[in-house]
Symmetry: C2
Subunit: 455 residues, 2 copies
């Protein structure tokens, strides 16, 4: 695709009542519906009608705060995505599953199932989990160290890709006359033996429409970037400024060659929490209104958790106290660094920082008109900072509807975004090739092999 036809990719990041931490207090949101499938069905259908590439659900494996003033609770994302697969036709479905508290056989199998059920629309956001309260729900006293989590994640991906490739695409025969159900030579054990896992295989489900789900990653630490360069096909990342985003973009893309990959095999999608007004001042007022609905206790708990320091003992209108060093952080390292940099760059008090983070928990918040937002997206997109965006509406469903009705048509007018889906699978939306099965390549004659590679 020529540079001038380059299209941006939009993922809708769905978060209960919305991404702003006070969304549930905002008129028009539906916090009572966060366990109601019909609510999420409406959101998914709106996103599909707007031609989003995909929708995405985050996850956590524990409640990590006093839930009095809010909490990230609700439907388990994988269960929810599968239910949404039945009521949508085109939009990609990306679910978060942790490699730290799961078994690769289950995960490989469930994503293969979701990919079959959705006819090729599954994506896996690979996380390593970030908090000790999660460990406590899985018979562990302490959280695995950051680098150990990535070692485990790495081996986890070896096992899951091995399992997804354990069936060649044409292994199922189903010849009634001869009684041949499958070609047993095309279904193989993987016999993986490693530090964390010992898995025999094969998987008990045939290879799925996409070969395997689109692999997505959201960690932006050193370990995270290296992991992404090796495995990820899309990255969700939090970037506050154009310069930071450009640096991250070129850093990650430059790491791909080492793994024999090209820059177009990995999409970088920074988060954006767009607060949309008919005028700039209306947008700023909306932002102000939302920030005034926040509950200080809630925000302080989240920020204390992010920074690994108890902020309740410091004055709200003072600056951040001395913080732990990055090496001591065993949660989300890159988010820690982002918050520290943000507070320093903008010289923020704790209260001001709470407001800056309320919209997107570290992801960029931008309040303006639809045109201004389209300008911002285009600026990042054409200046080497992104391949598209992870769109995080501050409140739902209205924040999504405003984006769909105002920003997307503007991006379409500029020729930056599709008016209709051209493909059917998430890989097709993202412009990613279907992974060839290494066994098929090895066993096929040259011509057939070439055909497989070009799929």
């Amino acid at each position: 695709m020529s540079q001038s036809n380059r299209q941006l990719h939009l993922n809708l990041f769905i978060m209960n009542a919305g991404h702003h931490e006070a969304a549930w207090r905002h008129q028009g949101t539906e916090p009572h519906n966060i366990t109601d499938i019909e609510y999420f069905t409406r959101l998914a259908k709106t996103a599909e009608a707007a031609k989003f590439d995909s929708l995405f659900l985050a996850d956590g494996l524990a409640i990590n705060n006093n839930i009095k003033h809010g909490a990230f609770i609700g439907l388990e994302p994988f269960t929810l995505l599968s239910a949404l697969a039945s009521v949508t036709q085109r939009i990609g479905l990306i679910g978060t599953v942790s490699t730290t508290y799961n078994e690769p056989f289950h995960v490989a199998r469930k994503f293969a199932s979701l990919d079959h059920i959705s006819k090729g629309r599954a994506g896996w956001n690979i996380v390593t989990s970030g908090s000790s309260v999660e460990a406590n729900n899985f018979s562990k006293d302490t959280h695995l160290a950051h680098s150990k989590r990535y070692e485990r994640a790495n081996e986890f991906l070896q096992v899951t890709t091995g399992l997804w490739n354990s069936w060649e695409d044409d292994a199922l025969i189903i010849d009634r006359d001869s009684g041949t159900f499958a070609d047993h030579r095309k279904v193989r054990s993987i016999d993986h033996v490693g530090d964390s896992f010992k898995v025999r295989g094969p998987l008990n489900i045939p290879r799925s429409p996409q070969g395997y789900p689109v692999l997505v990653q959201a960690g932006s630490s050193e370990d995270g970037k290296e992991f992404a360069a090796q495995y990820a096909e899309a990255i969700f990342t939090a970037q506050q400024t154009l310069q930071e985003a450009q640096r991250f973009y070129s850093d990650v893309k430059s790491r791909l060659a080492h793994y024999g990959r090209t820059a177009d095999q990995l999409l970088i999608l920074p988060g954006i929490c767009p607060i949309i007004g008919h005028t700039e001042s209306e947008a700023k007022e909306k932002e102000q209104e939302l920030n005034e609905l926040t509950v200080i206790d809630y925000g302080l708990t989240q920020l204390s958790h992010m920074l690994n320091v108890d902020l309740f003992t410091y004055p709200l209108d003072g600056k951040l106290p001395e913080l732990p060093r990055l090496e001591e952080i065993n949660g989300n390292k890159s988010r820690f660094q982002l918050v520290v940099d943000l507070a320093a760059r903008e010289d923020l008090t704790i209260r001001q920082l709470l407001h800056r983070l309320a919209g997107g928990r570290g992801h960029r918040t931008f309040a303006g008109t639809a045109l201004q937002i389209a300008d911002q997206l285009e600026e990042w997109f054409v200046n080497g900072a992104s391949d598209g965006f992870n769109v995080m509406p501050p409140y739902l469903p209205a924040g999504l509807e405003e984006f769909a009705e105002q920003v997307i048509p503007e991006l379409q007018r500029r020729g930056l975004f599709r008016r209709e889906y051209s493909g059917h699978t998430l890989r097709e939306h993202f412009g990613l090739a279907r992974p060839a099965n290494p066994h098929s390549i090895a066993s096929a004659p040259a011509a057939a092999s070439q055909a497989a590679a070009s799929l």
Copy 2:
């Protein structure tokens, strides 16, 4: 409900192309569609239109045979059920999940999600897994011993019920004005510490419509029956004769009192694989036709696995060789005993036994007219052998359609089966009470407590 109004309960056990091991070779089945959601949607809608209480999906965590002539493979049941929840309104959705290869936090959370998504239609068929090939997919060299699996299952249920009760039903407040999201006094840690698990909780999803999913169990060994008496609300069981079924029925029901439970708190649903003909001889011909489609190699592998002996070295037209003792069986103990008894009672050769097992893997197969089948079901139902049945069509979708069009109307004419759903949840279909939350009872004033208990 008076004895005369007693209604039987019907569960549809869905198995890919059908329960007969040669179903995939039978004209009219759709083995190419076993990974296609639209195929399963059609089956679910047919079952719902016929007013089945529920549909059920079995599971295995490995391929345990050479797949040349057939295999139990396909969509992961939980993923599939969630997708079916979106396209059905009334029918219960029962999924199999193993307590041996899963974490209770994940399982509690996923079933709570499915129960929310389906608005109260979730059921969990609790299994402990039965084969060492499954162990090999989960970093274990050998399979956990039978009694150890049940010890783990027992603790697993303590944890999951604890987690399901960790939210009181009215814990979510969502008061926008005061900024009160939840009543934090009504959401509790469980702080479970046991031999197999250490789980802090609470669950990160509010209590679901049914309180928790209907708990189903399918093991009929000593350990299995005792586990069922303590926890199960429905049992799927394989019983070949009226007498055996009556013995099992009264045995299990008599164990409930020990756990402070009454006989009506547990439904016993024996399996039936009905082969339906317009005449008896047509039905027998159908059965014969199906049996002739079986592949000996496939059946022998399954039977060798069930009996823990390599049958390939014995003559097909001879009797079973000497078998291991029941104590040495670490798979499905009750199924082992059933097959041994069946072969002895009917004095079967190995080949004859293979045919007797081809329809339902040990579950009862009955070939006859719709009237004869209704007679059989009624006989068991009114003579203390069952509260309903686990219906296992030999081939799909036609075997289900025949049952829905011919047998169910006959059961309705006899006043034995509903013509319309009267309830909305699976508990309502099964006539089971919604479990009260022990925390709510403890903390509520007397009057409120009574109201909660009668829910």
